[in-house]
């Protein structure tokens, strides 16, 4: 006996019957098969599960899938368009903003929302903005550099800003 929900994820409407207790992150990973969104803790701390829900960056491990009924979700799989990497993805690659890559999808989704709100962020604003996303590898230096670089790329080519949906 489930609840029928419709979630528009990366631009596509997806329908499913779910238990109310199904977490959004599990819905994304296991029902929809999109495993780019990661689970890094069990305590709402690490932010590896960050997705955009109606344009807001949230920890999808702490939201129920039923809460996303009728709403839009953007995950890391929705960043690239037509086979071309999003400027944020390019920047993370070029600036070596990742090592193991586990925190990276969450970092990039947070960056996506951050840069929408602050197109020309200072270093302090970036550091403050990603303070909900933990990285155990990089020491954050190159992550900050990547986001700064992404900001520059987006200001230069605003048409590349959107993801899928």
């Amino acid at each position: 006996m489930g609840n029928r929900i419709t979630v528009t994820i990366n631009g596509t409407a997806r329908e499913a019957e779910v238990e109310p207790r199904l977490l959004l992150v599990h819905f994304i990973r296991e029902v929809l098969g999109m495993t780019g969104t990661h689970i890094g803790c069990d305590t709402t701390n690490c932010g590896a599960c960050t997705v955009l829900l109606d344009g807001r960056a949230v920890k999808s491990c702490t939201v129920f899938a039923v809460q996303a009924d009728g709403r839009t979700v953007l995950t890391v799989e929705g960043l690239a368009r037509d086979g071309e990497l999003h400027p944020i993805q390019e920047a993370f690659r070029e600036q070596h903003g990742l090592q193991c890559g586990f925190c990276t999808p969450g970092m990039m989704m947070t960056a996506y929302a951050l840069l929408q709100r602050l197109p020309n962020p200072t270093e302090e604003q970036i550091r403050w903005g990603i303070s909900g996303n933990l990285c155990r590898c990089t020491g954050y230096v190159n992550i900050v550099a990547a986001i700064k670089d992404a900001a520059e790329k987006l200001r230069a080519s605003p048409a590349r800003a959107g993801g899928k949906g």
């Binding site: 609840n3 238990e19 207790r21 709402t44 960056a57 939201v63 039923v66 809460q67």
Partner: protein, 290 residues
Amino acid sequence: MIPASFEYFSPRTVPDAVNLLVRYGQEAKLLAGGHSLVPLMKLRLAAPRYVVDLNRIAGLSYIREGDGALCIGALTRHGEIETSDLIRARYPLLADAARVISDPLVRNMGTIGGSLAHADPAGDWGAAMLAGGAEVVATGPGGPRTISIDRFFEGTFVTALRPDEILTEVRLPQAVKGQGGAYLKLERKVGDFAIAAVGVGLVLDGGTCARVGIGLCNVGPTSLRAEKAARSLIGRKPDDAAVARAAETAAAECDPADDLRGPADYKRDVVRVLTARALRLAVQRARGGA
């Protein structure tokens, strides 16, 4: 990791939500931002049989000033308060508090109403509202009633809300000339609960303190008011001596526990230092600076 099963409701109006509480009583929990409830449910420390999601109710998220009051809808997210131009310009106590609650992702979901109703002694809004002299509006089957924040926190996780009531609004006195406020938090790392935090709200009139509120976070079984410390400043000039005395008094008024965030006497001293700093900052802002 996986919450226990529950039945989920998503009412569209406050009366519908209240009726669900009336029907299911203590077996139901309200879901606002969910960032206190869902972590507890994932650990199965909380396992309500019914969850009533408030997020589809329109008209519970707003920041309005007028008629002598600042009114904030209970479903307003911490992040919305943090970035509100009105709050930043005129209510520094709230602006300061909003930005140190957990982390930016949590602030996108967590709500001021949920935070107050959850009544975690480590919740920043509790101490800030005590400092600001707030009142909350609780809506039950009989309609709304107002509860002074001074009478709101009854115990750890226990408030004056009845089981069939929903906190729908938070109100503060409208900012007046000579008003200042500040909220300072010491935390081990960004996103953590406070080792201790202090909120101050005051109004200066002709150089002396006409109104003072001091709220303390995570140094007692509930959010605390440093009543004696606040009273010691009424009618006085907030000079160094008066501020130091109030800070010492506030430290004596709190009741911290030894835990992983530090021993009790350390936390007491953090309260003393933060109270002094918050008072000085609030006074500076009241005089038109900072």
